[in-house]
Chain length 336, copies 2
């Protein structure tokens, strides 16, 4: 077998497993197994950013062709190793980047306080796609929000808060003397609102709790009122788009807002559609961080998701005016 | 003066300086000055992600109202500090995340080799928006490409290579025994192609050099041929979109491709339009890293730019099929 036969074999594998990521996805999966040796399916999903059911289908096809065997996790056979070698992938040791966005140890006390106060929180309601982020993730978020000017003096809206991100924000802000203007929690689940209300009394912060079904039309009193929109929506393209659209309506009209959206590893099509949708409603992407959020459970998504930071402009976007000049800077009179 | 008067004053400042980032942008600029004390305009731009000319206009308006003075860099006056305090911003010390994507010291020898081999390279042609990335940036890219399976066994296309990213890839791959399938450099500037040709002889890699004006229609022989598309295009929305579109045409048809696009801190409108444009041509965003690239000079963009990693699907995106179900996962029969 030569390289191009190996490529078409792997292409066929991706086709038979209906993998949207195609040949590229099969390479990523096999590379993850090569490096990790005996690798559980959830770890493959985490490393490759490919959803668990898709990894599972690909693994079945690779197994059928005897490129891998399962013994606990997945391991490549000699035939599998040969395939990788034919397409040019070997098992070299190279220097790696350090994991970004690590929560520093100095915050462990805050995390302990979070765990203590969070005891007795309601169990996740899986029918609403709830699943709890781990405590460290909540503080990673609080730090990241503050790094991006989203806490001090802010009217903050959290759309769905089964993760208790609000609690982490309160502990973090108290610790460093950050002054929140108001913390506004919107949730369909009264249990969560009640729980947050009970713990919020320990903090000196204006907190407002609203029971709301975000599938319904947003009432006018919530529109145009918030500087910061935080959400970890239901993990479908429709759910993500819907929550983002509500967030855009909640953004202060003249000043705009900063939005933080958590979202899963969608297939390439879903991911493209999601980004097209939200750019149409005025979300301007500033940073996307893979694997930022970690969850307890959340099987389908391998217990991780990504976070995006967006600027929502208060002004309308006039697309036409963007297409008048040449492509090089020298063709234009102005920077924007 | 109370909080809401302070907010409308700063909002007015943003309006008078025609700052697209509005009130949010003024806050970011003032916060950067608060933290850094005497801060040069380019540093403010780097920290805030707001383009230099926009920061400059905002600084003029803040100076006019006596919220800041200039003495080398910008410094807040007592009146400026009062404004920040009114909107809730104080100068607290909080733990910070470590800088992500640092190139490890173990690669310093490779960087030295790059600097040595790169001596005598052609000077930047500013009329083509050329400006050289610093050597460390080129190796940060090489590491990042390999981490994302974009080097081994790959047909790599680089669209414009005045940065000599190809040289960093060659040194890095030689060091770790990574086997590139082919390295293909497309540039309008024959000086750059000649220089790369002269140094490439020191490496055992298939390298192809093409003089090409990417504003012209792409000839068929370049279409559908590459796994990896790398570009640091001219920094206008039109230029970025054009280079991305060419990249999409170059991507292998059935297997798709991985694209790495560098892009500047655009205003919110330009940024939205850029992302809308590229999602329409099939770019699915996987990661966006602010400030990834650093340049020598490049005044307008404060010497930095961002990088985005994208998956270009080989298949057509059928948007209609994405909108059939409910928003929660339980409403759907399947993961995609």
């Amino acid at each position: 077998m030569d390289r191009s036969e190996a490529e078409s074999t792997l292409n066929k594998v991706s086709f038979d497993s209906q993998l949207q990521e195609g040949y590229q996805g099969i390479r990523l999966i096999m590379r993850a197994i090569l490096r990790g040796k005996n690798v559980p399916i959830h770890d493959i999903s985490k490393i490759t950013g490919i959803p668990v059911p898709a990894v599972s289908a690909a693994r079945r096809e690779l197994e059928k062709r005897k490129f891998l065997v399962r013994s606990g996790g997945a391991t490549l056979t000699d035939a599998g190793l040969d395939m990788l070698s034919l397409i040019g992938i070997c098992d070299q040791e190279v220097p790696r980047f350090k994991a970004p966005y690590e929560v520093p140890d100095v915050m462990l006390d805050q995390i302990a306080k979070f765990d203590e106060l969070g005891e007795g929180r309601p169990d996740p309601d899986y029918s609403l796609d709830q699943s709890h982020a781990i405590s460290t993730t909540c503080f990673r978020r609080a730090m990241y929000f503050h790094e991006n000017d989203a806490i001090e003096g802010r009217d903050i809206a959290i759309l769905g808060d089964d993760d208790l991100t609000s609690l982490a924000i309160m502990i973090y802000s108290q610790e460093y003397g950050l002054n929140i203007k108001s913390l506004n929690i919107f949730d369909i689940d009264q249990r969560i609102l009640n729980f947050i209300e009970s713990i919020s009394k320990k903090f000196d912060v204006e907190i407002n709790l609203y029971e709301i079904d975000l599938i319904q039309e947003l009432q006018d009193s919530y529109k145009g009122r918030y500087d910061v929109i935080i959400s970890d929506p239901p993990y479908t393209v429709e759910g993500l788009t819907r929550f983002a659209a509500i967030g855009a309506q909640m953004a202060k009209e003249y000043v705009g807002a900063i939005a933080f959206l958590s979202y899963p590893n969608l297939g390439p099509v879903g991911n493209s559609v999601f980004f097209r949708n939200i750019s149409e409603i005025g979300f301007s992407p500033k940073e996307l961080i893979p694997g930022f959020n970690e969850y307890i459970g959340a099987q389908m998504h391998a217990g991780i998701s990504n976070i995006g930071r967006f600027f929502i402009s208060g002004e309308n976007i006039d697309v036409a005016e963007m297409y008048s000049g040449g492509i090089y800077t020298r063709h234009r009179g102005d920077w924007d």
